[in-house]
């Protein structure tokens, strides 16, 4: 399903010259964390950003170590350590949020190419293991004891046309979002509703589904 927008994008750096100049990795990581926490489905893994953040963390760890060795005053060391801890928290929480989504929707993610491609290599390994474990569990506890035709962990019966037992995230769920800039009249996809004017820096509650492309292109942030 919706494989239409599977193209690789990296969040929010397209035409956003201004914010590109002023946005630090710390800010970008915070934004990725917020979006990931607030979006019902798993978003594109921020590979480059995570890589850079990891490097920064490592560098900072070395710095802190060096400082303590060289007898730099404890205040400075502790401030560097705090900054490091904050970044570590963001990165861990970001990765954990994703793992949680993978756990919840492992089957769905595995069979949806678009979603599968959003995962990092490690996440794909994790997802595979989740799927294997879940399959094995369902099989051992229930499915193997059912009659032929009811043994699938995806389909209710062999008559089912689709995989109708696979939990999916609810994309029509409402989210709260904010745009840094005026986006103008915005048409929500379904029904003949009046378009919504999206002003800069205002909060809106909208169905995730309707702003999904804007989240993906970095034009709108979830909060």
């Amino acid at each position: 399903m919706d494989s239409g927008d599977a193209s690789g994008y990296s969040a929010g750096v397209d035409d956003d010259y201004e914010s590109l100049l002023s946005t630090t990795d710390a800010e970008l990581l915070k934004r990725a964390w917020r979006n990931e926490k607030a979006a019902p489905e798993i978003l594109q893994f921020e590979a480059a950003l995570v890589q850079r953040s990891r490097e920064q963390i490592q560098l900072m760890e070395e710095t802190v170590e060096e400082f303590s060795k060289n007898g730099v005053d404890p205040l400075t060391v502790s401030l560097y350590q705090m900054d490091l801890d904050r970044t570590l928290f963001l990165l861990r929480s970001y990765l954990r949020t994703r793992l949680q989504k993978i756990e919840n929707y492992a089957f769905h993610i595995q069979k949806t190419t678009d979603l599968w491609n959003r995962l990092s290599k490690q996440e794909q390994n994790f997802a595979e293991r989740c799927v294997d474990d879940m399959e094995q569990h369902l099989d051992q506890s229930v499915l193997s004891k059912l009659p032929q035709g009811f043994k699938s962990h995806l389909k209710q019966s062999s008559l089912s046309l689709a995989d109708d037992m696979v939990p999916e995230p609810q994309l029509d769920q409402y989210v709260i979002c904010r745009s840094k800039r005026f986006l103008g009249a915005f048409q929500l996809d379904d029904s003949g509703e009046e378009p919504v004017n999206i002003e800069a820096n205002d909060l809106y509650a909208l169905p995730y589904k309707s702003i999904k492309p804007l989240v993906e292109s970095g034009q709108i942030d979830l909060v």
Binding site: A26, K30, K37, L75, L79, R86, S157, D164, P167, V223
Partner: protein, 211 residues
Amino acid sequence: MGSQSDPHAFAFSAAELEFLAEDETVEIVPNMRLEPLHLISGDFGPFRPQIATQVPLWLAVALKKRGKCTIRPPEWMSVEKLTQVLEAERDSEKFQSLPFHYVEISRLLFDHAREDIPDIYMVRSLIEDIKDVRFHKIGTGLEIISKEVTYALRLKNLSAMEANIVRPFVTQALQTFHKLNTSEAIPESGSIPSRQRQPVNQRDKRVLKGR
């Protein structure tokens, strides 16, 4: 497997919002010397006695806890400004513009820098009052949703904490309105019984057999 809609699954905790608020900048006046800090979150300092400088709140609080600085409360946290906001807040249906993290910032400063805030009792009670008026308005604002069913809700000037508190309620309510509205408008597939005794549109039904 998580298919049930957990109302908290997508909200932030108050502590997480506080974490975000700690990155807001605030002015401090150090009483010591310290070389510039080159942190992941940015470069700050140098710190010189009696020379004001801008730092993130978490850094300010860390220095303050160690008695290394005083914190200058932000401009909006003065009795004068807050009195104006409170009045405007009471006079108008609209929400006044306050910092996105005003709830968290004020709590952090009350907790860690009380002696740096002039007229702290007054400031604190003004902020409490503003918060109460705004929460009351959120209640009446929510009523409006029910009068004119909308698909999009604009929450102008709502702060991070306020939005987070109403999030579970508002998002679920909007979704219910949406669902009820569309169930009325769309003629559903099941409305015309299929001729053949072929089993239906299995797409979004839990089929009998499978249970």
